[in-house]
Amino acid sequence: MTHFATLTNALMAWDDPATALKDAVLDHSRELDRFLLEIEHRAFRIAQVALRDADDALDVVQDAMLKLARNYAAKPSVEWRPLFYRILGNGIRDLQRRRTVRKRLMVWRPGPKDDPQNEAQDPLEHAADSSPAIPEKLMLAQALEQLEVSLRNLPARQREAFALRNFEGMDVAEAARAMGCSEGSVKTHYWRAVHTLREQLGEVW
């Protein structure tokens, strides 16, 4: 339902327009809150896989939330998800570009994020304890790490298509809106991603 329709219905339902308007705005705000709550953890993980840094991932997710809330909150709620992931994708790409520039400028002084030996920032280190026995947990952790490494090795658009289609469960049309490209491009990127992942993970999975 659009923001306008929500407001119109609210105004028709109550005798007191001021109260009705206030309630409608509150409803809309709650709806946006629910939407962000629903996606924030998944979006964070998608950003973390791409950026390999929890703080950077948090920054881009926070920025995407802010931009969506400020600029697109009045859009119909069904449009929020592709819009949010489009903003997030742009944020991830911007940060990766800045990192590339920084790496070129600071090549003589590698920072902790550029250090391939630095395993302290591995997201698996922060994984909460859960019930599976140690060997099973270890296997799952290894499988996840292999998946993340393979995903990072994919071209950005293929990784984006795989994340949106497979992790987020978007259909081709929604993923196309989120990526700002045609449905055919989404299919191609996704097919190539699956093909490459199968080649890389096939032996160990």
């Binding site: 705000s29 924030e40 948090l58 926070q62 939330m65 859960s130 999975w205």
Partner: protein
Amino acid sequence: MGEDSKTPLEERSRRLFDDSVAAVDMRMRSRLTQARHAALAAARRPRTRLFGVALWPAAGTAGAAVLAAGLWLALAAGHRPLSPSGERPSFEDLDIVAASDGGSGDAMKMMQDDVEFYAWAAAQSDKSADGHAG
């Protein structure tokens, strides 16, 4: 690979991803919650304030337009420099200089062809100016 049929790789990677989402630590969950609340609070704030930052780019553009219009009017009103002969060049003269003709070439080419003449004209103009000053 249809829309609904998932390969084992797709299914397994999805499960692993879901597990990793569930394992996001409490510290990060808390920070994400704070980020969400900040975004919602920002959305509730009005954006267009009269003296707020949001209007600065528009104000800058308007200011530049006013400045450009002012300069143009000042030039048109007689603040242009005088020509060596003491007459103000008219817009018709400028049109003639700026106009290009397929047969005679453009104004820049004319100047390049007669460099010596223009150097002589400049020297005469300087002499004339010195005479007036002295």
